[in-house]
């Protein structure tokens, strides 16, 4: 399993290196790609070295990712992705942050879902966090965040 993961990770890096090298040596004007060409040669050499090592089962640095960890992180990664890539523009930055923050707390809080106190605690933490963020970014730093249905 771990060997397969190493192959997958190094294969991903090697494929990026191949694309970078291909673009660097084929695009014009060549002067603009002088430095990328030098870098991409080293990039490709090291990436292929790592990939070949992984293919031969010699790549052992790093613990990889267990199914347990993957299962645990999935809700968090999904909530974060939806929040940043879609909800932030659709609902507005602050509204989306509030929803995502509350969902993350709910998904990862070890307290029982039938416990009313834990729900109240999550709502209070979310409200405090958003209040601080709003004061800091909207009022003090005057950052204009995207607005959607709400702010």
């Amino acid at each position: 399993m771990n060997i397969f993961q190493h192959r997958l990770a190094s294969g991903f890096v090697a494929s990026i290196a191949i694309i970078v090298c291909y673009i660097s040596f084929t695009r014009q004007p060549s002067d603009a790609y002088l430095f990328p060409r030098v870098i991409s040669v080293f990039f490709l050499t090291l990436a292929l070295w790592t990939f070949v090592k992984a293919l031969m089962g010699l790549s052992k640095v790093g613990n990889g990712l267990s199914a347990y960890m993957f299962k645990n992180m999935l809700p968090g990664v999904l909530i974060s992705s939806v929040y940043l890539f879609f909800a932030a523009k659709f609902f507005g930055f602050y509204s989306a942050t509030t929803i995502a923050f509350f969902l993350l707390l709910t998904a990862y809080d070890p307290a029982s879902y039938s416990n009313i106190n834990s729900w109240v605690k999550r709502i209070i933490i979310t409200a405090c966090f958003i209040a601080i963020m709003y004061t800091l970014f909207a009022k003090i730093l005057v950052v204009y965040t995207p607005r959607g249905m709400f702010i």
Partner: protein, 497 residues
């Protein structure tokens, strides 16, 4: 002795408020396991945009200094090092706390940090201008090689595997070429409109250091983190001072090892603390007491990791080569304020750099005072559940990245780079060389291209980049650092077999 003339700027109301805020915030962040000094400084950079360069750097410097020291709080009271630099402190610090000497251990660690830190900043004050003068004679080829040294040294020392460390550096250098080419104005590697302006350093820094932490907190799932906090009993501070001064050998070993390690790019505080602890143990007549709650262990480890902070900025400010990953993030902070470190830094920006360095001196004293008095509070904050911390860091990362250019593109860059880095880290890649490649890439490219143009009118690129005493020395450093790391890796593999 130029630095004396710039103390006035540090003692203004705004500077002092920032110093105090940065120190207290840094101590609390440092005490929180999972929030490393590097991540803290990266998350703070967006807050410095509206500040003057001096104030921004004072805040970042205070946070850097105090997060390293703050890590000792959780190391002593919770047996969880706040940062890798505090691993050695856990060995004797927690044992002392279990014996009912928690307050004493905290006081010793902050006093030792103060001594080590002040010595380190004095080294920074006196060594930096000397090195800067030497570096004044550098040409394009030398600056190019210096940038390459920065990436290869950290690349070969930071990651678990030399090849993967260097590969991370290459990825960083490639990322730096995305966007418009400076000389010809050609669009390069722009695969998405969000990359049109290139990869902005700040969202990249936030993503590379904060997002992997957030995902690893998610990966722990809905687990309870029942960490036992040891209650702190009162201990007179005067006794702690007397104890530190009676343990001169531990202070001396910690301070000298920490300072030396800080000067070597890429080695970092973790090694400084552990090496100082090991040497203090070897040279102590009370060897058997180490690990059972011996004050010398805490003093040596903490004086070392704080003595490393100042010297880690010497190669950064003079040669643009950061001495530690946190120094690499500070380099990003300098660049966004339009300050490019290098040999002429002290001639161009004395009104920014000297107050920044002086503030680190004052910051050490504040760190010791606040550290001693708010340690228990910091330990309580350190017990904030990991899932709350993950949500807070994600929110801060999103707002911080957006605030840079008020662009969602930066948020996408932050999240994509951060997620990619989490997975790559699980396979032995490292964020530090990647960040250095990203920061030093443009410096390397502009000097490489200019050098190449000059060399075509002279004797060709080989003669320009590979001949001359200084070029040969710099190329040798690149080869030696990579060679040494490969040899060390090979040796440790052989020993483990």
């Amino acid at each position: 002795m130029d630095f004396i003339f710039y103390f006035g700027e540090v003692f203004t109301l705004t500077s002092m408020l920032l110093l105090i805020g940065g120190t207290i915030g840094g101590l609390i962040m440092g005490a929180t396991p999972g929030l490393s000094p590097t991540m803290t400084v990266a998350l703070l950079i967006p807050f410095t945009f509206n500040m003057t360069p001096v104030h921004g750097l004072i805040l970042l410097g205070a946070a850097y200094t105090s997060t390293v020291a703050g890590g000792a709080v959780s190391a002593i009271l919770l047996k969880i090092p706040g940062a890798p630099a505090n691993i050695a402190t856990t060995l004797d610090g927690n044992a002392m706390a279990r014996k009912g000497e928690g307050a004493k251990a905290l006081q010793l660690s902050f006093i030792a940090s103060l001594i080590g830190g002040i010595f380190g900043v004095f080294l920074l004050i006196f060594l930096t201008p000397i090195l800067a003068k030497m570096a004044n004679s550098f040409g394009y080829s030398h600056t190019f090689w210096l940038a390459i040294i920065g990436v290869t040294v950290i690349g070969s020392l930071e990651a678990g595997s030399v090849v993967k460390g260097l590969l991370s550096g290459c990825i960083g250098m490639w990322l730096a070429t995305i966007g418009f080419d400076d000389i010809q104005g050609v669009k390069r590697f722009v695969f998405h409109p969000a990359l049109g302006g290139g990869v902005n350093i700040i969202p990249a820094l936030i993503g590379l250091f904060a997002i992997p932490q957030v995902i690893s907190m998610f990966a722990k799932g809905r687990s309870q983190n029942n960490v036992e906090q040891i209650k702190v009993k009162k201990h007179p501070i005067s006794k702690a001072f007397r104890e530190v001064f009676s343990r001169k050998r531990a202070v001396l070993i910690g301070t000298s090892i920490g300072s030396l390690i800080g000067l070597i790019p890429g080695v970092g505080g973790q090694i400084a603390g552990l090496l100082a602890y090991d040497q203090a143990k070897k040279l102590s007549p009370e060897k058997q007491k180490f690990g059972t709650g011996h004050s010398e262990g805490v003093i040596a480890a903490e004086s070392a990791n704080n003595a490393m902070v100042g010297p880690s900025l010497v190669p950064l400010l003079t040669l643009s080569i950061p001495g530690s990953p946190t120094a690499a993030v500070l380099l990003g902070g300098l660049i966004i304020h339009g300050i490019f470190p290098g040999p002429t830094l002290f001639q161009q920006y004395p009104e920014v750099i000297w107050p920044f360095i002086n503030s680190m001196l004052i910051g050490q004293i504040l760190m010791c005072i606040f550290g001693i008095y708010i340690a228990s509070l910091a330990a309580r904050v350190a017990q904030v559940p990991q899932f709350v911390m993950a949500a807070i860091v994600l929110g801060l990362a999103a707002f911080g990245s957006f605030a840079v250019q008020q662009s969602m593109g930066d948020v996408y860059v932050m999240v994509v780079l951060g997620t990619m880095m989490y997975f790559l880290e699980r396979f032995g890649f490292s964020a530090a060389p990647l960040v250095l490649g990203l920061i030093l890439g443009p410096i390397a490219e502009s000097n490489f291209v200019t050098g190449s143009l000059i060399s075509t009118a002279q004797n060709g690129p080989f003669v320009y980049f590979f001949t001359g005493g200084l070029n040969i020395l710099l190329v040798s450093i690149v080869i030696l650092s990579v060679g040494f790391s490969i040899w060390s890796e090979f040796n440790s593999k052989r020993q483990s077999q």
